[in-house]
Symmetry: C2
Subunit: 212 residues, 2 copies
């Protein structure tokens, strides 16, 4: 059993989604003064590698603390949309591109889509002109009945409202800004448990692949 | 496969370890104004159900982002120290009490110790006069070669410096303030992945048991 860390590091002052709170990670107690180290951290729920709960876009949507743990852990599949390369700025991910990997998008599946965009994480460019699902691609994902979709982009689509509403409105959980997808085999066990933040919209996660 | 959530909810303003930052969890964007909900949260790395990394007490200790993922996931055992009840204020957990469950404390084991103290979580009393490992109990844990110890108390000992240093100094990872241990069978798969906070001392976790 080996582990692949699919999570970007959280670093004080790193870029965040435009308009989100800039993350702060500061020593609070120090060995020199208190005899131990502690840290105070402050950030938005959508910082770095994170999970979107339906409440992100829906008043009555499931909140992050109520997502069934069985959705967030189990067999998963990698769909490599840009094998051996990476999508460029403004690329569109169409329904046809996903249908090419149709066997991975089965009822109840957890699917992580690799575009190579994670190479830009940690810079402002990560949040600009990133590869985006089309509306039709998002509708097809819902039609296939998958329960969780992961992306290596900051959001499933730059035109984010419509695509988020299609996915979250159907109860599809979204994991965003995944790292190291290129290290994955086609099948593995995925775990991405959010913090149990009561009644809210999302959380950073430590996303992990467990490979047999 | 069923899941047991071993995590207390994170709630705005809930009590924290004396001297730690009071947790803040506040709406940032709202559906009414922005069309979506987001949250800004701020807390200490030792809030609620959380993990202590060796860097908490040691300048050159492993930081939370560097703990091998294989330490944090795998077979684990419940040791019920107060079957059918709960320890009272100021209780000591002695080496002899642990030795009574000696078969669970084997080389490389992950052991979660139930004292029933989690019933006080969410009130200031949780952080006062909680059951504590003796120095000799902590030394025995290290001697047995276990890799991870979980407690339902806010810390392994109220006289925290010495016991933390014995455990963390030997590289034993500590999970604190676990919930719902009374719902567990004796053996299960445990997962408690911290946020990937670069170079720091700990992190809240979503601790989960996966029961076959």
């Amino acid at each position: 059993m080996t582990f692949v860390d699919l999570t970007h590091p959280l670093i004080d002052g790193q870029p965040c989604y435009p308009g989100d709170p800039v993350p702060q990670i500061k020593p609070f107690d120090t060995l020199a003064e208190a005899g131990f180290n502690t840290t105070r951290f402050a950030m938005g729920t959508h910082q770095g590698t994170h999970l979107d709960a339906p409440f992100h876009f829906f008043r009555d949507g499931t909140t992050v603390d109520k997502i069934p743990l069985g959705t967030l852990y189990g067999p998963a599949e990698l769909v490599d949309l840009a094998p051996g390369g990476a999508f460029g700025r403004g690329a569109k991910i169409s329904r046809q591109m996903l249908e090419h990997h149709g066997q991975s998008f089965h009822e109840g599946a957890r699917v992580l889509c690799s575009t190579g965009w994670d190479q830009h994480f940690g810079r402002e460019e990560f949040y600009q002109s990133y590869p985006s699902l089309t509306t039709e691609a998002a509708q097809w994902i819902v039609h296939q009945g998958i329960r969780l979709i992961g992306m290596d982009t900051p959001s499933p689509a730059e035109d984010f409202e419509e695509v988020h509403k299609i996915l979250l409105g159907a109860g599809v959980i979204i994991i965003e800004a995944l790292a190291n997808l290129s290290s994955l085999p086609r099948q593995f066990t995925f775990a991405a448990f959010p913090l149990r933040i009561k009644g809210r919209d999302g959380s950073p996660v430590r996303a992990v692949a467990i490979v047999d």
